[in-house]
């Protein structure tokens, strides 16, 4: 796990996404190859955008209720939350460049 990302769980999920600062939650699992591909780009994105975007990781194996609540049916799924609301959902692995352009409005 990267040094710039935080870990969230079912129990602290609500408070984690409540912030006015956008929080990207990466739904992942140990057995998911494409999820591993996202580790480095997400860690770098978090490092480069400190204070603008929080990047949080949620393990779907260990946190089934959050996964169910947001109908996550494919991983990696990355959802950006702000003030507790879902603002953007990205499904599937992508490069850091792609992430940056798709999330530009949150990184300004």
């Amino acid at each position: 796990m990267g040094q710039n990302t935080v870990t969230v769980t079912d129990s602290d999920f609500a408070s984690a996404i409540a912030s006015d600062t956008p929080t990207l939650v990466d739904f992942w699992a140990e057995w998911c190859g494409p999820c591993k591909i996202m580790d480095a780009p997400l860690d770098e994105l978090a490092g480069e955008n400190e204070g603008k975007l929080t990047v949080a990781k949620l393990n779907v194996d260990e946190n089934p209720s959050t996964m169910g609540a947001y109908s996550v049916m494919s991983i990696p799924t990355m959802i950006v939350f702000q003030n507790g609301e879902e603002k953007r959902r990205l499904i599937g692995a992508r490069s850091k460049g792609q992430l940056k352009s798709e999330l530009a409005e949150f990184l300004a």
Binding site: W31, P34, S71, M73, G92
Partner: protein, 306 residues
């Protein structure tokens, strides 16, 4: 200064080329692409790669081959190539705003899963439509699914999905599978798997989540609706050659053209290995073999200019 060998792609072909080129002292530079490791990263048990009598997980196999390539000094860039210019030597390979030049290039960009291209599919991708059973099967515990396709990867996906789903229906356009016999036998004898022959998916149904599919029987033209929670697509792959269009000779399906028994392309000094140039075998071990050939071809070219 130009690289001696630049390798594009990091599946079994690219990494094997890297091992050989690195051991030959050519200090290869690999642009691995952000989907590093290639298709094996989304497979589970690999039972037919020699040297692993108990099988090995696809991602573990790739991790080991990658370590082997790095051990001999392969340098790796984790991005996608955005543009190439093979019109003169040294060849130019661009990764975003960074340009690299190289005396030889080995292309091993592999292939990507093909989608059905029917209404509803794109909208419901990630909401019940998937091309990666190992990634998404987990989300379909006790649900009913279909797998579309008739090759080895369709059989593998169907069998894997039985771990989660209550029922898996394989939908295939023909009346027999082209998959290997061992896989076909496992599918046909599995208590949770049914097969619908001679049929194609006409539409994926559902507003926010998949609720079903409409199927058309190709012999009777009868259209039926089937209630399912998930659609897994395994109908084959297309070579990743978009970036090489206009630079190399490609065949009508987009594969890089190489003469039989060689990895040479239409440009001297540019070689192709693995699924990007192979529409026949497409196995991890054949890709690795072609990667070895490409590295030896590149080495010979650097020595003799031929």
């Amino acid at each position: 200064m130009s690289e001696k060998v630049l390798i594009i792609g990091s599946g079994p072909a690219g990494l094997t080329a890297a091992i050989y080129a690195a051991r030959a002292g050519l200090e290869p530079l690999m642009v691995e692409g952000f989907e590093r490791g290639g298709q094996l990263m989304i497979t589970t048990d690999v039972e037919n790669y020699p040297g692993f009598p108990d099988g090995i997980m696809g991602p573990d196999l790739m991790e080991q081959i990658r370590k082997q390539a790095e051990r001999f000094g392969t340098r790796i860039i984790s991005s996608n190539v955005t543009e190439v210019d093979f019109s003169e030597r040294p060849f130019r390979v661009s990764v975003g705003s960074d340009d690299y030049t190289a005396d030889t290039v080995i292309i091993s960009t592999g292939a990507s899963a093909r989608w059905l291209g029917v209404p509803g599919e794109e909208k419901l991708r990630g909401f019940g439509v998937s091309a990666c059973a190992t990634c998404d099967g987990f989300f379909f515990r006790d649900k009913e699914l279909i797998v579309v396709g008739g090759g080895d990867s369709a059989m593998e996906e169907a069998l894997f999905l039985t771990k989660f789903a209550s029922k898996v229906t394989v939908v295939h356009r023909r009346d027999e599978f082209r998959a290997s016999k061992i896989m076909v036998d496992r599918v046909l004898n599995h208590p949770k798997i049914e097969v619908v022959w001679d049929s194609v998916v006409e539409e994926v149904l559902g507003d926010s989540l998949v609720t079903g599919v409409s199927l058309r029987n190709r012999t009777t033209d009868e259209v039926t609706r089937m209630d399912v929670d998930g659609v897994f697509v395994a109908i084959g792959h297309d070579p990743n050659t978009e970036v090489f269009k206009g630079q190399l000779e490609l065949d009508d399906a987009g594969y890089i053209v190489t003469p039989k028994g060689s990895t040479s392309t239409s440009v001297k000094g540019v070689y192709a290995a693995g699924d990007v140039a192979d529409r026949v075998y497409r196995q991890a071990v054949t890709a690795a073999g072609m990667g070895c050939q490409a590295a030896l071809d590149a080495e010979r070219f650097l020595e003799h200019g031929a």
